[in-house]
């Protein structure tokens, strides 16, 4: 019976090729788009984790942006407790603390509002030294040193070796100002970060704010995929220890990533739906005609004792083969297009980034499987109605058909 189903595809080669071609086209198209979306998504994931780490532990008031003073600061004892507790979780590579502050960066007569992020220099969890393109990174001996983004440096005319003044309000509410040496310039994928964020040693930030606290603990994991299970587990441990801090994952920490990822999902969902519907209706037309032409044959095999269900299965099996062949060709074609795209390395600047990257298309399991499955399912879906109709005709009427 499988043989007959397969053989039936050779009945009208042109028509079979046409339907397989349409299925393949839909499959290849969604494969390339999905590959592109996934590549872009993983680029953005990378830069988001580079900015935020995998997980951050901080006071909910700070995380939700409703802090009024410095009540969110984590004192050293609690910081040590959290670090110890987090490190027991599987997949945790390490933790580091940060302290961010808002301040006014002044150079000669120009000023800029910046967010200065105090980091532990040369920590192995999240330091930004590998982003430095000119000058050097922050070292353990540095105190009055700052890394400035390329965009901001251009605006303020800064070069490594220049001095700037950073003004901020201390925890107690007093103004404090300190000179800083620009030791390096960095580039970051996001324009926003490059323009509005500078990096200083944690010790400097604490000195400027006159505190020994930090505002967050950043957690680095071995795998990106472990982020959410680890976050949940750490949250449970914090609650159990009675520590009133909350856990946030990198995707939630970056509103930019969230909106872009959501946009990608909608884009791809829409495309898949369009391809599904298009393939469904075109193949439905073709199969309806193809099954109708064989009414007399259906009459013959039913007269010979083939049951209605078996005839139905025969048609569905035939379209399953069609879907598999079409989808298979689509995957091959999609792979070829992806390969050409990646080989051509067309430059593309993703929204909100500073540097163009090569336009890339991922070719992974999910990228192949989803369009392939969608092609097969839509082909099968188009077969059901005509196959059902073909089995409904009475044997005698079917035999009389021309």
């Amino acid at each position: 019976m499988a043989r007959l189903a397969l053989r039936n595809l050779s009945r009208n080669r042109r028509r079979t090729l046409l339907s397989a071609g349409i299925i393949a086209l839909g499959c290849a198209l969604s494969l390339v788009v999905l590959g592109f979306v996934e590549r872009s998504r993983s680029l953005i994931q990378e830069s988001t984790v580079q900015q935020f780490g995998n997980i951050q532990v901080a006071d909910p008031a700070l995380l939700d942006g409703r802090a009024e003073g410095f009540e969110y600061l984590i004192p050293p004892a609690e910081q040590a407790q959290v670090a110890a507790l987090v490190r027991t979780e599987r997949g945790v590579l390490g933790t580091t603390a940060q302290l961010a502050l808002s301040g006014l960066l002044a150079v000669r007569r120009t000023t800029a509002v910046v967010r200065a992020v105090g980091v532990v220099p040369e920590n192995d969890v999240l330091d930004y030294n590998d982003l430095v393109i000119e000058g050097r990174g922050l070292g353990p001996a540095d105190v009055g040193a700052v890394l400035v983004g390329q965009t901001l440096a251009d605006e303020l005319g800064l070069r490594p070796g220049d001095f700037v003044n950073l003004t901020a309000t201390t925890v107690a509410g007093a103004f404090n100002v300190s000179p800083l040496e620009v030791v390096g310039l960095f580039r970051f994928s996001s324009v926003e970060v490059e323009r509005a964020q500078v990096f200083v040693p944690l010790s400097f930030a604490q000195l400027l704010l006159a505190t020994d606290g930090v505002d967050r603990i950043v957690v680095r994991l071995d795998r990106l995929g472990r982020t959410w299970t680890a976050a949940r587990a750490i949250g449970v441990k914090l609650d159990a220890a009675g520590i009133p801090l909350e856990v946030r994952t990198w995707d939630v920490l970056s509103p930019f990533y969230q909106s872009l990822s959501g946009f990608f999902d909608i884009l791809f969902g829409f495309l898949v739906a369009a391809v599904f519907i298009l393939v469904f209706f075109i193949v439905l037309q073709i199969l309806t005609l193809s099954f109708l032409e064989r009414t007399r044959e259906v009459g013959t095999i039913r007269a010979l004792g083939t049951r209605q269900g078996e005839v139905f299965r025969l048609f569905v099996e035939e379209s399953l083969w069609l879907g598999l062949v079409g989808g298979g060709i689509g995957v091959l074609a999609g792979a070829a297009i992806s390969f050409l795209f990646n080989a051509a390395s067309i430059p593309w600047q993703p929204p909100g980034t500073v540097q163009a990257v090569a336009l890339g298309v991922d070719f992974t399991g999910a990228v192949v499987l989803i369009p392939f499955a969608v092609s097969v399912v839509s082909t099968l879906a188009s077969a059901f109605l005509p196959a059902y109709q073909a089995t409904r005709v009475s044997v005698v009427d079917a035999l009389r058909a021309v």
């Binding site: 019976m1 043989r3 007959l4 053989r7 039936n8 050779s10 009945r11 007399r296 044959e297 013959t300 095999i301 039913r302 007269a303 010979l304 004792g305 083939t306 049951r307 209605q308 269900g309 078996e310 009475s394 044997v395 005698v396 035999l399």
Partner: protein, 244 residues
């Protein structure tokens, strides 16, 4: 026991109809295509139902083949009534016990000759070895031993009908029904087909029932029934079924 050729007939009815009536709707009225047919075929019979075009032959044959249901009356297959059986049960009965030969051969064009003959055995889920053996034997019997790999469209009309005959016999059915099997063939080829059917009837002791409007077919029958306007008009028994 009655001897008929080489086939010993014990008189068990294979097929029996009781007061078969079939009405077709035509506009607001009904056309009565069969009007009370009573007919019995026993094991080993070779019966021909003869009648002019439109007399109800195909209608009757469809009832006997269990592919259509009568408006009234009953068809008994192997002495069991069939009107209460479901479509699925009828299909199972057909695949196992009834062979069909059509006027237009009705081979499946995408299957080879051997695969066409094999098809009913796939339905009965016969094992592969048995299928091969039986297909080869039936093709040999109809004189098409070397033709198994050919496609139906590579064969002549007579050869195609031989394939259809092989297909009808491959499951070793109790009953073979043929609707005008010679109507699409020239007279010489038609005679060859009838001789083939006659020989198979004797060899396999299968009940054959042929409907036709071709008078020359009548020569091969042991029983000739005449149908007119949906009624069996009369029956003629012929002792030794050997045509001139």
């Amino acid at each position: 026991m009655q001897r008929s050729g080489f086939c010993y007939v014990n008189g068990t009815p294979v097929l029996e109809t009781r007061n078969l009536i079939k009405d077709y709707p035509l506009g607001r009225e009904n056309v009565r295509a069969l009007d009370g047919v009573d007919f019995t075929a026993v094991q080993g019979d070779f019966a021909v139902i003869n009648g002019p075009s439109g007399s109800g032959k195909t209608t009757l044959l469809n009832m006997l083949a269990l592919i259509d249901r009568p408006s009234e009356g009953e068809v008994l297959f192997e002495e069991k009534p069939t009107s209460r059986l479901t479509e699925g049960e009828l299909a199972l009965l057909r695949r196992e016990k009834i062979g069909l030969v059509f006027q237009t051969f009705n081979l499946i064009p995408v299957l080879s000759v051997a695969e066409n003959v094999e098809y009913p055995l796939l339905l009965t889920r016969a094992p592969r070895g048995a299928r091969r053996e039986r297909v080869a034997a039936r093709l040999d019997e109809v004189g098409l031993s070397g033709f198994g790999k050919r496609r139906p469209d590579e064969l002549s009309g007579g050869q195609r009908q031989r394939v259809a005959v092989a297909r009808a016999l491959v499951t070793q059915p109790r009953l073979v029904l043929a609707d005008e099997p010679t109507a699409n063939l020239d007279s010489t080829t038609g005679k060859q087909i009838m001789e083939l059917l006659q020989g198979l009837n004797t060899d396999h002791c299968v009940t054959f029932l042929v409907v036709t409007h071709d008078p020359s077919v009548v020569d091969y029958a042991q029983r000739v029934l005449t149908i007119r306007d949906g009624r069996i008009q009369g029956e003629e028994k012929r002792g030794a079924p050997r045509p001139a």
